[in-house]
Symmetry: none
Subunit: 289 residues, 2 copies
């Protein structure tokens, strides 16, 4: 199983409202020219990707946690159909784009029926491959809605984005929407200090006017609720002249360890604006019909 890994580590979490457009995909192909060109484009998009030169068993694909797989059926040989069917069965959430040489209508129909999401005929432009992968992933993601996001723990507090709420010992803190957004944002920073301006622009969506105290007020409300529910811990720390930092800090003498919020990597898997956008379209001439 030859494979070259271009990917960096986990995609950077871009915060609660943030939208990381980076996808994780794999290309199963042997056509070195095609791979090279495609890889270059993928790099530029910042997508994590790996190239596989030989068929991998379905459960190996599972562990790659891919958004989509681009595959040339020719690499798979006679077992192609069986492999495809098995994979689609095992990973119903994986986007599968077949990108292969000339084929008959019957073959394409068969592939699509077995579970492939798209079928592109080589030779093809890498840009089109990417656009089709995006289309497939976009469709797939939509109904799953909110981030699956496992709950985030910090000290005694559990932040559950599926409920828009934080809990201490199973008891809800009764946070309002803004309060929740704030704690979510702070916790996602994993112990970093966030400046007021940044907090403001992330929560309110526009830049803060000088003298606005909204952030402070919400920090206070949040502190009150946290204090009431979890008196033996401090969570939000003020950095004078800068902003705030979130870290669970026990007040018990024997253990004064600081624990930044533990975030699962899937955090902030939202998908706004994942398209590279107009500036890329301009590379190509787009004429009307």
């Amino acid at each position: 199983m030859t494979e070259s890994i271009t990917a960096r580590d986990e995609a950077a979490p871009s915060g609660p409202g943030g939208a990381s457009s980076a996808l994780r995909i794999a290309v199963l192909d042997r056509d070195s020219g095609f791979i090279q060109v495609l890889s270059k484009r993928l790099d530029r998009l910042g997508w994590e990707h790996r190239v596989l030169a030989s068929p991998v068993p379905a459960d190996a694909v599972v562990s790659m946690r891919l958004s989509a797989l681009v595959v040339d059926l020719a690499v798979l040989g006679p077992q192609a159909w069986e492999w495809l069917e098995r994979l689609c069965g095992a990973l119903p959430d994986l986007g599968i784009v077949v990108c292969t040489g000339p084929s008959t209508v019957a073959q394409r129909v068969r592939g699509l029926r077995l579970g492939a999401d798209d079928w592109i005929t080589k030779p093809c432009h890498p840009e089109e491959v990417i656009a089709r992968v995006q289309s497939v992933v976009r469709r797939r993601r939509r109904p799953s809605g909110r981030t699956e996001a496992k709950p985030v723990m910090a000290g005694e507090v559990e932040i559950r984005s599926d409920r828009f709420q934080a809990f201490v010992g199973g008891e809800s803190l009764d946070l309002t929407r803004r309060e929740f957004e704030l704690i979510e944002l702070l916790a996602a920073a994993e112990g970093r200090v966030l400046e007021r301006e940044e907090i403001y622009s992330r929560l309110w969506g526009y830049t803060m006017v000088r003298g606005d105290r909204s952030v402070d007020v919400f920090v206070r409300k949040l502190r009150q609720k946290l204090e009431k529910a979890s008196p033996r811990w401090r969570y939000i720390h003020t950095h004078f002249g800068i902003g705030y930092r979130f870290a669970a800090e026990s007040l018990d003498v024997d253990q004064d360890v600081e624990v930044p919020a533990a975030l699962p990597p899937e955090w902030a898997a939202g998908d706004e604006g994942q398209l590279a956008g107009p500036q890329q379209d301009r590379e190509l001439t787009t004429d009307a019909f």
Copy 2:
């Protein structure tokens, strides 16, 4: 706006529980030969379909409650892109398959980026069009899952998708269609908070305009019926500024446990088998690679 209607009444509900392999699609094209052949195939499959010969405004498409739309961009003229973008924005759940004459890579990429799910180049085999439409629809439907019979229990309420009805102690709540779709959707979320926009787009199929109160109104109707039939429980919880959450909550003091809807594990499972399947492949020669 010439249009010939082959379809009959309401199609399979596009709501959460809608389970039927018959799709409702529209074809926007003027190529009579293509239309004729395609229509014949669609008839044989038992899919409801209508043929449109001229562009229809996006909101007219809304009322058709389609699963997918096959469109030849050439029919739309210079406004094609704009029309496509508008439609995709308004109906994020509609599958859109562009089927048009020769095009450049740039055009295809643009179309896919704007929201089209697939792009087929004419001339093409109707069987492939159908397979791609199926693929697009399958992709979207997946997470909604087939609700195979198993009733869902939450508190005293039993939700039976096979009957499109909810019961308390064997007594029907007399839910209307929308009301049932709503309770089913909420219950399927398993205790997660669903935002209004999401509820709306899942039930109505298109994006909610600001200020629309339909969701609230149906929540009220549902609450009334639930309250009447099961007064000692609360089911639908409001999350201010966000949406609603479904969880059975007893009002009896001794046990104030929250019980999210108990869903059978099959829920949200893949939905193979809805494809017409192998017997159709046999019409075509399927050779291996």
